[in-house]
């Protein structure tokens, strides 16, 4: 596992921070995780021998080309799917099935449309036998935290996409999970809202004692958010590299143009879209014949 770690040039501040993080206790440990799907007679290996650890208060992003099984991986972590082999340990205990200690935010908002915003936030508490009055109090506190207390009695369909996803995040957090799993949560949002949600997620993460495992196919998003980035390869999904992001916190919009940002992204690009491997599983796009008389500087 250790030979897959890549250390980009780190400033002393980043190194100290990562050292402090790695000294904290391990929250989630994935050991030799394998997932095979039956398709007819043959087995297809979606995930092959995945092992990694996340520490308390770590923000871990998982990236990889399409088909690398990153969604399958996070669904196994959530307990929504069964692994074919290997183990997932949360605080040292093996995970069996879904549970409140692993909150999840999905790509589709998955808010319950028949419940009000407050009802959605209260849902997990009620399911874990918290008294209704107490659940309401906590839900209102969390709604206040994200500035949506005015919308407590609104239904999800009355909210914008960004608001829905904010509600979905605190719906998971109100349950006090040990880890928050996020499966491409912002990919359905427009670019502007997505950027604001990324900053806002870091804002929440700063204030709440939570470890995040965040799946994305957006490399900028991964570099901006993560302490470490787990890169998977496709067919089968294997752990390719674990990158320590050499950017100081708190992260700001200007970090997008920093040299460390470009270096990290270049490393990710090289891993996910290796230049030699083109035409392997990507279809070839034919060149377009000339169909116009008007020829300008476009060529």
């Amino acid at each position: 596992m250790f030979d897959t770690i890549s250390y980009l040039d780190q400033s002393q501040a980043v190194k100290d921070r990562l050292d402090r993080m790695k000294a904290r206790e391990v929250i989630l440990e994935v050991a030799g995780l394998t997932k095979k799907f039956r398709t007819g007679k043959s087995d297809v290996t979606a995930l092959d021998d995945i092992s990694f650890k996340t520490h308390r208060r770590e923000f871990l992003c998982i990236v990889g080309p399409s088909g690398c099984g990153k969604s399958t991986l996070v669904r196994i972590l959530a307990g929504l799917e069964q692994a074919s082999g290997g183990q997932v340990l949360l605080d040292g205990h093996p995970v069996k099935g879904p549970g409140r200690e692993r909150g999840m935010v999905f790509q589709g908002y998955t808010l319950f449309p028949w419940l009000t915003v407050r009802g959605n936030v209260m849902f997990g508490l009620l399911m874990n036998n918290v008294a209704r009055a107490e659940a309401k109090k906590q839900a209102d506190e969390w709604l206040g935290l994200i500035g949506l207390e005015k919308f407590a009695d609104a239904y999800p369909h009355q909210l914008s996409g960004g608001m829905k996803q904010r509600v979905a995040i605190i719906r998971a957090l109100v349950n006090r999970p040990r880890i928050l799993l996020m499966d491409e949560p912002f990919s359905a949002l427009d670019a502007q809202t997505r950027a604001r949600m990324q900053s806002y997620l870091l804002e929440i993460w700063k204030k709440v004692d939570i470890t995040v495992v965040f799946i994305t196919h957006d490399l900028d998003e991964a570099v901006f958010l993560a302490d470490r980035i787990l890169v998977l390869s496709a067919h089968p999904g294997r752990l390719q590299e674990l990158i320590e992001v050499p950017i100081v916190r708190p992260r700001k919009a200007e970090h997008f143009s920093a040299a460390e940002f470009a270096a990290t992204k270049a490393r990710l690009e090289a891993l996910i879209h290796p230049p030699s491997q083109h035409g392997d599983d990507e279809e070839a796009y034919p060149s377009v014949p000339l169909l116009t008389d008007v020829r300008d500087e476009v060529e």
């Binding site: 929504l80 549970g99 409140r100 999840m104 998955t110 449309p113 028949w114 849902f123 349950n175």
Partner: protein, 338 residues
Amino acid sequence: MSSASEAASSLASDVVTGDAVPGQWFRVRAPLSRRLRVILAICSFLLPLGLWSAVSYVPAIWHPDILVSDPGDVDYFLPGMRVDKATFAKELENAKVNHTAPPQGTLCNPVYLPSPGAVLAAFYTSFTTPPADQDGLWLHQSLWQSIQTIFWGFVISSLIGVPLGILCGAHNGAARLVEPIVEFFRYLPAPAFGTLAVAVLGIYAGPKIAIIVIGTLFQQILIIANTTRKADFSLVEAALTLGTKNLRLLTRVVIPSVLPDLYRDQRILLGWAWTYLIVAELVGATAGISLFITQQSRYQHYANVYAAIAMIGILGLGTDLVLAALGRKLFPWDRAAR
């Protein structure tokens, strides 16, 4: 993916409710203005009614018979009798040849096609005139009997069908156990159980309710199961990650998420139950609105028959409109109802 389909469906509803585009009448799913939609809905009733009125009141369109007003010397003619044009013409010719008094009459439609005015009058008088039989029932009493039959038939069917359907929709094992036999029974025509129902349940309300139950229940189980099966599974998964367990997953997630659809199913199934009413009421001792209809048609009071049939339609449509409005109140979050 779900957000994409959401966007598509909201787009589609925008198109349907959007402003009309001039000159685009025949485009597929062309939008209609609100006024046009109201006008078309009214025309939906007015056009058939207009056609009926035209056939009834304009003699040139059909009027194949002649209503005898004065039989003259034709011995088998009676005042108020309807004869076809050919017979009438023959007797008129005979009278001319034999120098007897010719019969007189006016053009009319067959007895089975009363005019809208006659049906409207019958609609009113059937509520105000006492029953022809001494121990007969008034129309509203007959209707009340029918409504009770429908009500109990539908309630009993729903008490079994809805829970069983939800169970089948939520649990594959239950579906495997229940659905094959239900699929078999679904094809058996409910009236086929008529004599059996009478043998078991007597001749009064019992077998009638049983026919409605048989006609509704098997479809109900399958329809409710299918709707339950369409519950958005991502909501179930979200609930799982929030710590929801076992039965609560069914009662707090699956059922609420499909409740507006189940409600719509029930409305359709209630209509289904109504269509079984007449057959059901003919089983055993004829009762309710069917008794009224069969008696009136025996006396050839077809205006009354039409009035009673229209009454069923009005009751059915009225109930459905009330239930639709109630549904919008009950499920303010339901996008399909908006």
